[in-house]
């Protein structure tokens, strides 16, 4: 049993500006913990979390894999979230490398084919587009949840920008050949459609590894891997 990261250093004030870990976060932790043995034996070197918020998930991954075993890169568009991520790393004795940026920008070129573990808990709540867009341009707490049409606007942007497993010439291919990608989604995001699109357009085989109902939300954790035929040796 891997303990949930200690977040006692973060205050209610922090959570006015940064997403406070909730059921979606915990479901993601559970999915990662279920895969702990596999993840450890694949010896990941570079982990990247998009939208790390409080830093809870990456701190958990760091504890799971071992603080000195991998590089834990975290991005967030909200610089206060970046500060919280670093603080949470310190509190849990994992060095989290926080970068203030949009999705994977500024890292995508050098990280091509390098990311062994990619994690994204996107803003998945369906809202109108204007709300989602303004949330991303003036990043505050809403940038953590406002997902636009079907809750998929930012997820789609990321999947298009970083179509892990896409053709060789695509510069934004992040995943290493044996890399894994975990994505949080809700039912409204149209999960069969996400799985089909990822497979058809990006050659990434995905499946739902965990699901749970939390209030109104039907939460799902999706895990993607490159298809066997796509793995380059």
């Amino acid at each position: 049993m891997i303990p949930t990261p200690n977040l006692s250093h973060l205050t209610a004030k922090d959570f006015e500006r940064v997403y406070e870990p909730a059921e979606d976060t915990f479901l993601l932790l559970d999915a990662l913990e279920n895969d702990a043995e596999d993840l450890k034996s694949s010896l990941p070197l570079i982990c990247l979390e998009i939208g790390s918020g409080s830093g809870c998930v990456s701190a958990f991954i760091g504890t799971l894999l071992g603080p000195s075993s991998a590089l834990y890169l975290c991005t967030d568009i909200n610089t206060h979230a970046c500060q919280c991520t670093v603080a949470t790393g310190r509190q849990n004795k994992v060095c989290l490398e926080s970068v203030g940026t949009y999705l994977d920008r500024s890292l995508h070129t050098r990280l091509k084919h390098c990311v062994d573990l990619l994690v994204f808990n996107p803003p998945y709540v369906p809202t109108n587009s204007v709300e989602a867009e303004s949330a991303q341009t003036s990043p505050a707490i809403a940038s953590a949840w406002a997902g636009g049409v079907n809750g998929m606007e930012l997820t789609n942007t990321f999947l298009k920008l970083a179509p892990v497993g896409l053709l060789e010439e695509n510069p934004r291919e992040l995943l290493a050949p044996q890399g894994r990608f975990y994505l949080v989604a809700v039912k409204e995001n149209n999960i069969p459609n996400i799985l089909a699109t990822m497979l058809n357009e990006h050659n990434l085989a995905g499946k739902v590894v965990l699901r749970r109902r939390a209030g109104r939300e039907h939460l799902h954790i999706l895990r993607f891997e490159k298809q066997a035929s796509q793995v380059q040796t």
Binding site: S68, S69, E97, S98, V99, G100, T101, Y102, R110
Partner: protein, 123 residues
């Protein structure tokens, strides 16, 4: 935290800036040294992902001349320890990173690099 491992993975992504946009150049860097657990296997694993020249040049700019200009073929423990120190223990807490191509300035504050661009600067 901008450790040199992270710096070695960052490039400028401003609109139209696609060549000679790596490595970013530190300016007014305030450094801190923080010890980290040495894991030789991790350093060995990272090596193929490191741009050696960028690392050596950057370390030199920051006053550390402990790495050889050419990447040695054989990595002994001594060298792995040096790499560990340079890649993982040198933290730039404050300062700026400047693109060698377009001169875009990315500030570092409280150890966090701000790579965000304004709307008109996005590629």
């Amino acid at each position: 935290m901008v450790r040199l491992i992270t710096h070695n993975l960052l490039s400028c992504h401003a609109k139209g800036c696609t060549t000679n946009n790596f490595p970013l150049k530190f300016k007014d860097a305030e450094m801190e040294h923080r010890e980290a657990d040495f894991n030789p296997e991790f350093i060995r694993g990272l090596l193929p992902k490191i741009e050696w020249k960028a690392l050596v040049d950057t370390a030199k700019e920051l006053g550390d001349t402990s790495l050889p200009d050419e990447q040695p073929e054989m990595m002994d423990d001594e060298l792995l320890k040096t790499l560990h120190r340079v890649l993982l223990e040198m933290h730039v807490e404050e300062g700026q990173m400047i693109c060698p191509n377009c001169n875009h300035v990315y500030p570092i504050s409280n150890g966090i690099p701000n790579m965000l661009l304004a709307e008109h600067e996005i590629a």
